[in-house]
Amino acid sequence: MIRFDNVSKRYANGFEALRQVSFEIEPGEMVFLTGHSGAGKSTLMKLIMLMERPSNGQIFVGNRNLSRLPAGQIPYYRRNVGVVFQNHQLLFDRSVFDNVALPLQIAGSPANEIGRRVRAALDKVGLLEKERQLPIALSGGEQQRVGIARAVVNKPALLLADEPTGNLDPELSAEIMTLFRQFNEVGVTVMIASHDLTLLKQMNKRILGLAEGQVVHDGLLW
């Protein structure tokens, strides 16, 4: 599903975020990405989302070589990758329903299908009764769940999450992780960046440990 071949990323200011990173993730896997801040977790996620381009090496997602993807194709590629952010990135001028519907509207789904899918996604994260509310009226955990609903409404094959539980208490974090596990169980490849060790222990999944831009651990928790 995801393959990194000797990928390095050096930013314009000279900072080397990733050095010769290689790994492979099979379709349907659930993988955690961990490491201290600055270890390269976010850079790795951004490379998969094509928010950044690697300085060296090649990245394959679903057998597609990302370095060969022309700029005009990036939007279509992104429609098949769901992303969840630590700060949710919700739009506060529109309702929960409209936030979740955004990827479908962009992809050009018909209105009746949008309604059906958005409600299914909101039902999945337990927010069906709040579809008319504005995100500002929701709690932090609820906002994060809206973000997750938006990431999965398009039924992507790959789901990325960057510190999705960063601002949440342990109980809410566990709830969110259960959601991700459920998506993984129906076949979605899930990759989550997190430095919450207790959570990683509970989940007991494959972990990629990053330090100073290099993969220093690959496997279950050490």
């Binding site: 951004k46 939007p75 279509y76 590629y77 992104r78 962009i106 050009g108 018909p110 398009n154 979605v188």
Partner: protein
Amino acid sequence: MVKRTNDKSSASARTSGAVQRKTGARDRLGAWYVHHSDSAIESLLRLLTTPIQSLLTWLVVAIAVALPAALFIGLLNIQHVGEQWQNSSEMSVFLQPDADEQAVDRIRQDWAGRSEIARITYISPAEALAEFRQHSGLGQIVDSLDRNPLPGVLLVLPTDAASTPAALENLQAELLDEPLVAEVRIDMQWVKRLQQLIALAERIVVALACLLALGLVLVIGNTIRLAIENRRDEILVVKLVGGTNAYIRRPFLYTGLWFGLGGGMLAVLILALGLQWLKVPIAALTELYQSHFYLQGLGFIGSLQLILLAGLMGVVGAWSAVSRHLNQIEPH
């Protein structure tokens, strides 16, 4: 498998990927249409939520449109007057003061046979004097004269075919050969000058219109730039969930269109009010010149064209702003 869903090729390119959505070409066309109408309505409503700000922009656009349009209307009217005069390429043939009536009659019959001449009207010295007394306001002075100083005049109207400047000069020379004729005057010279002046004014108006159109594009572009800045977060999110540049551009282009169309409509209103305001003094003025001249506006089609042109300028301005600033907003 992550598969791209391309607008054009998706229908045929998709063979696998069970978890993927399928969106047919018909649905996509429908969604494209819906997004257009949504963008159009939403961007208009957005403008109306800040009415004062929007009105100011509309006024700026209206002034930039109305100014060259007003000059153009003025020019159109002057041209119209010029054409009226040009059509009367009549020659005034002044006769010798001592010419007797029979000789004049002979000349009239002689000339009436010429192919270049359409009509001849004779004004005798007595008629000329009566007319002068009536219209000049100098009746008393005329009365005090002991003899009529005015010569007889033959008004010669050439046919249309003989109304070219060269043919007229030719005819003038031939009529002068007649010994009874003292002078032949054509009023063409200053009509020519007027035409040259109009041609000059036309260029000035076009240059001014181009400058103001450029200003219009810049003003709308700057307004759109601010709108883009205000919606930066939204643009980032839309880009992250797969919005194409065209999708992101669309609402801003409609905003530009509304600025242009609204400004154009205001400009038409300003012009109509201005013309109405000038109508009375111009009617009084033309009364003095015994002319049937009336002030022409843009008319319905012209107004529509002006509004559409302003709308086009709005879209161009929005496009220039969007193409410059949208690429700077990339998710990082």
